[in-house]
Symmetry: C2
Subunit: 296 residues, 2 copies
């Protein structure tokens, strides 16, 4: 039983390791080669914690991970267990970073796969960790010429713009009538974001709606769009897709699997939405890859 | 972050520590002072794993635990996390024993609370670990003069009888027309056990029906009985109580909480059933008590 801290994890948990692991997990999930029970959510006085679990058929491991959002900050870990005997293999005390990176990788993969090839300006909505990471990981896959940052707090927008600048990416505070063909939403909103943010969007990736009660995308954007979900049932239950279905904007069976999009490609000229709620199979794949890398 | 093995856990995880922790958790759960999401179940080629989580209001910790049943044996662990900041506090690598002990404690508490005071002969159905532990832990609370052991495999019955004898408890293989006023079922059955096993029962405690598809008790035994459930929704979803409700034998609102029985007592003269599916709050309470004891 190894306990591995973030200092040991960071050097091996590179995009080169995480992208293939997440991609394989999403495709396996689309093909029914995973075991992913519905996640657990615990609400506390000063935060909440999501517990996810997953297994990829044929893997020697399964994983149980926690991802907590607390007043004191985010935290989390991944517990890797032996899929043949149930015992602990390793505890990755990653302080929530593996969840952050796998979320960024999943978003970047599907954003890249569904957005027209000539689009190189991205709007991000939200100013948290994922607003930065979604773009940084996307830039590993395609050119990003400029980022618009949309947020309610101008100081947080300025800080994020500075972070992008430090990473060599031109960033401007979103305002007025600007719009982008590719919009990534990363908020913890519980009401739909303003429709105007999406009026020029050809592709939208939403990663913030990860539990019941949350809501980022105005339901109108779903009308006529190609919709990709990372997990059909989860997205129906608590994703933005589910919000649109319950409102009667789209039927509950119009979505395609993100994994199928990654495997087969998608019509990039069609307006599209990717609804990501986060799947335990991606956690299991990333945790397993880290363990293999550390022990290899 | 401490990793604590079974050798360190065993000396502190005594009935004196576990009984009060489980009792407090069941009562807190009955009073709505817990956070317990529905558990996760993962099925593997060679076993399954249940993941539970729980939090008791006011505790500095919450817990996520795994309990696996594999061809290679049972295994499990309890992860204790900081309820204010989400970080790991301790990993109790208990090899599944804390789950076994808290299950035995919960069963013994409710069996003792609902069984007439003069009943001192117990029938156990099943020959696994819990068949032994349910009686050993019950004996911490009341006299047990004799145990009938009912099982399909006579060699396993004989082995268990020998284990009881070694613990100073007279045990006999169940057969023919024998019956007991108190019956504890501990099997992994997926079909109802024979009704004859319960024909003399004044109290039944069922602990084996812990996931969808399992079934120990014939639905007829519920008719007219006082029914106590450790978690109303869980027992409706996948306990024997739920099986009886779906069959129309009893209404879905006739049950009382096990925690209320422990707090207020029950009419011991009335025929009764305790349906235990196992709650994450009990795991959290036991794990927290062990951590406190080890660090105190």
């Amino acid at each position: 039983m190894k306990v591995v801290g973030l200092d040991e994890i960071r050097p091996v948990a590179t995009p080169a390791l995480i992208f293939p692991a997440v991609r394989a997990a999403l495709i396996a999930h689309a093909e029914g080669r995973t075991v992913v029970p519905p996640p657990m959510v615990l609400d506390f006085p000063r935060g909440d914690c999501h517990v996810k679990a997953g297994y990829l058929a044929g893997s020697p491991y399964f994983a149980v991970k926690t991802a907590g959002t607390f007043d004191a900050g985010n935290n989390g870990l991944m517990l890797v267990l032996d899929a043949a005997a149930g015992g602990p293999v390793a505890l990755l005390a990653d302080e929530g970073m593996l969840t952050a990176w796998r979320t960024a990788a999943a978003g970047a993969l599907v954003t890249d796969a569904m957005t027209p090839l000539d689009v190189d300006e991205i709007a991000v909505v939200g100013t948290g960790e994922q607003a930065l990471l979604q773009v940084l990981w996307l830039r590993e896959l395609r050119a990003v010429s400029r980022v618009q940052v949309w947020g309610r707090r101008s100081d947080a927008v300025d800080t994020l713009c500075a972070q992008f600048a430090a990473a060599g990416i031109k960033a401007v505070a979103g305002s007025g009538r600007w719009g982008a063909a590719c919009v990534i939403t990363t908020t913890s909103a519980r009401e739909p974001l303003p429709f105007e943010l999406f009026q020029d969007a050809v592709h939208i990736t939403g990663i913030g709606t990860d539990m019941p009660g949350k809501c980022e995308l105005p339901i109108e954007v779903f009308d006529g769009a190609l919709v990709a979900t990372d997990d059909h049932e989860q997205c129906l239950d608590h994703g933005d897709f589910g919000n649109a279905v319950r409102a009667g904007v789209v039927a509950p069976d119009i979505d395609v699997a993100v994994g199928a999009v990654l495997r087969d490609g998608a019509d990039r000229e069609r307006r599209s939405i990717a609804d990501l709620t986060g799947i335990g199979a991606a956690d299991a794949a990333v945790a397993g890859a880290v363990v293999d890398q550390l022990s290899g």
